[in-house]
């Protein structure tokens, strides 16, 4: 077990290093930072001063070492636009993104599982067929376009829900959250539902497949034979057994929600880190771009590491095959 964790940890560190190198090379070779920093009228002496002050006169490996050294101390430069440390700006935006992603995850479970169980228990009814057709649509519809249509229908035409921003926030454990105020909830609903749509479809399909498999198992038949109510059979005996794959996949997909929140945040002007990166790319705010890329890579590597370790705890075959190879 320890061997497995150490190997995975080393691999994660390697991934972060490789990604940091790609980002560093990409940003420094593809784009010329001096061009962005210095105005066109600057003379040669002024340019050289800037080059020196940014350490760009040093060979690349020293620059890279400095970059890593800075990153380890939490220093990824100052934003050109906001004039504050890039890392701090992003850290400030993370709660909004996590709130959105978590809300979407909750929706996926709350909406997806009941619909999936229903479609699995009565596969031939009109309702089930509609649910399945809807889930196919949920897979095919491009998220950003659905978001636009939500805004058009619910905000512009019907005027029921607000379309932009986070609304009122309250502080909870030192973090601003929207879901505890009515206004915040109203602002949260559309973007979270938009982000959840894809996952809802996925949960429906997973749950349905699981249900159809489980209803024919002996223990379900036994529970029914024992005279248990239908409710108890479905809610206890069936649910317990279909939850394992659903929970695993949802855990894996949390990262996907954070990645896709870039789209939803842009559509609904949700002030999270996804909107920040798009704005920063637009305004060529290099330090923020670099810091975002490093943080998102780190978040993903951590999620994957945790999932891998949990996996190996639950299923010993995973770590055994790993150690053998």
């Amino acid at each position: 077990m320890t061997v497995f964790i150490i190997r995975r940890l080393l691999q994660s560190i390697a991934v972060v290093l490789v990604m940091s190198f790609i980002v560093f090379v990409g940003v420094n070779i593809v784009g010329d930072p001096v061009e962005m920093m210095v105005s066109d009228e600057a003379d040669q002496a002024e340019r050289e001063k800037v080059i020196k002050s940014m350490g760009l006169d040093k060979p690349w490996y020293i620059q890279y070492a400095r970059f890593i050294g800075g990153a380890l101390q939490g220093d990824l430069g100052k934003s050109f636009v906001y004039g504050e440390p890039a890392l701090q700006i992003i850290a400030h935006r993370i709660p909004a993104t996590f709130e959105l992603a978590l809300a979407a995850l909750v929706m996926a479970v709350v909406v997806g599982i009941p619909l999936g169980v229903y479609a699995g228990l009565r596969p031939d009814t009109v309702g089930s067929k509609t649910i399945m057709a809807g889930s196919i649509l949920g897979f095919s519809l491009p998220t950003f376009w659905v978001g636009l249509m939500f805004i058009m229908v619910f905000a512009v035409i019907l005027g029921w829900l607000p379309s932009t921003g986070r609304g009122d926030t309250v502080e909870l454990l030192g973090i601003d959250v929207s879901f505890l105020t009515m206004d915040g909830l109203a602002h949260l609903f559309l973007p979270a539902f938009n982000l959840a749509l894809f996952k809802i479809s996925m949960v429906i399909r997973l749950t349905r497949a699981g249900t159809r498999e489980v209803v024919h198992q002996d223990y379900i038949k036994f529970a029914r034979a024992k005279g248990l109510s239908n409710r108890r059979v479905v809610l206890v005996h069936l649910m317990k057994n279909i939850m394992i794959p659903v929970v695993t996949v949802l855990g894996l997909e949390f990262g996907g929600l954070i990645a896709f929140s870039v789209v939803t945040e842009t559509v609904f002007a949700w002030p999270g880190m996804g909107k920040l990166i798009i704005d920063s790319i637009q305004s060529l705010d290099r330090p923020v771009i670099v810091a975002y890329l490093m943080i998102i890579v780190l978040i993903f590597v951590i999620i994957n590491l945790v999932v891998d370790i949990f996996y190996s705890l639950l299923d010993p075959r995973v770590r055994l095959s790993e150690i053998k190879s």
Partner: protein, 311 residues
């Protein structure tokens, strides 16, 4: 899809004489495919979309990017209004007075072009890597698959976003980003089926004949790995089109000079809050129809090409 489960195929009376005595694999394939009506309709629509995209300059009512024929006076017209020049704008016009029908037709061309091009490149690279891994096995395989696994643990949109943040906008850049984001799916698929095929007798026979590695891999192994690859190829192409539209919408994909469907939708976003829905609604419908038809065709191909479902 569930309704695509094929009942035992009974050749109808009128089919047998035309088909002749022999049923070629291609004929059987076509017959199996046609068994799902939805998939057949989807294929027809898809072919129509591809033809429209290919022949855009001859089909579209106006040239939306010919500055001489576009008038700002015609901007933001409702669907169905007639212009002073006598053209009817069936889907209305956008903020610059361009006919939306024409803009969508030209947009399809760019969207499909980028999607297919990146799909083909990703398929070539992924296939080569996957075959190498499966054929040689051992350390090469372990290394390649570790890289693939790591890459697949990041969502495609994130990889594309990272690359585009570094590279900037452009057709070539988004194609590169999509290829890098997608090659791993192909590599994994090809490796999976190649591993199964590699242990079959015909490969052993080819190796016993002392044929070169290249010949064994490309003439014997590769053709037998094709069916799953075709299925993944269709679905990934739909994915690539959707991804390109999303990235262009976010403003990190294509430049304004290459107005794909995603950019058209993005342009309409600015007018949406004032109630001018059609500017982003109709390009979105075009995008949706394209993606759904490709997915339906891919689903049916999966059923038809799956030997386990064949009777």
């Amino acid at each position: 899809m569930s309704d695509a489960v094929t009942p035992p195929a009974t050749p109808t009376a009128d089919e047998a004489p035309i088909a002749g005595a022999v049923e070629t694999p291609f004929r059987r394939f076509c017959r199996d495919y046609m068994e799902s009506r939805i998939a057949t309709v989807a294929l027809a629509v898809l072919v129509a979309i591809i033809l429209i995209a290919l022949f855009a300059p001859w089909i579209s009512p106006t040239d939306p990017y010919d500055l001489a024929s576009v008038s700002i006076l015609d901007s933001k017209l409702k669907p169905g209004t007639q212009s002073m020049g006598g053209i009817t704008y069936w889907l209305g016009t956008d903020g610059a007075g361009r006919d939306l029908v024409s803009a969508i037709i030209y947009g399809l061309r760019i969207s499909l072009g980028v999607g297919v091009m990146s799909g083909v490149f990703a398929l070539c690279i992924g296939t080569a890597v996957g075959l190498t891994a499966a054929y040689f096995g051992g350390r090469i395989d372990a290394f390649i698959m570790r890289v693939v696994d790591i890459q697949l643990s990041f969502p495609a949109i994130l990889i594309a976003l990272i690359l585009l943040a570094i590279l900037g906008k452009g057709v070539d850049k988004i194609t590169i980003a999509l290829v890098i984001a997608q090659w791993a799916y192909y590599a994994r698929t090809v490796r999976g089926s190649a591993l199964v095929e590699r242990n079959k007798e015909y490969i052993e026979a080819a190796q016993c004949l002392a044929l070169g590695h290249n010949r064994v891999v490309f003439r014997h192994l590769f053709p037998n790995c094709l069916p799953p690859l075709i299925v993944v190829g269709t679905i990934q192409t739909a994915h690539a089109i959707s991804l390109e539209a999303t990235l262009s919408f976010l403003g990190v994909g294509l430049p304004i000079s290459e107005p794909s469907l995603g950019l058209l939708i993005s342009n309409g976003f600015d007018f949406m809050l004032s109630g001018l829905y059609w500017i982003s609604f109709f390009p979105g419908v075009a995008l949706l129809v394209t993606i759904v038809t490709i997915n339906l065709v891919g689903d049916q191909l999966r059923d038809v090409l799956n030997p386990r479902l064949q009777k």
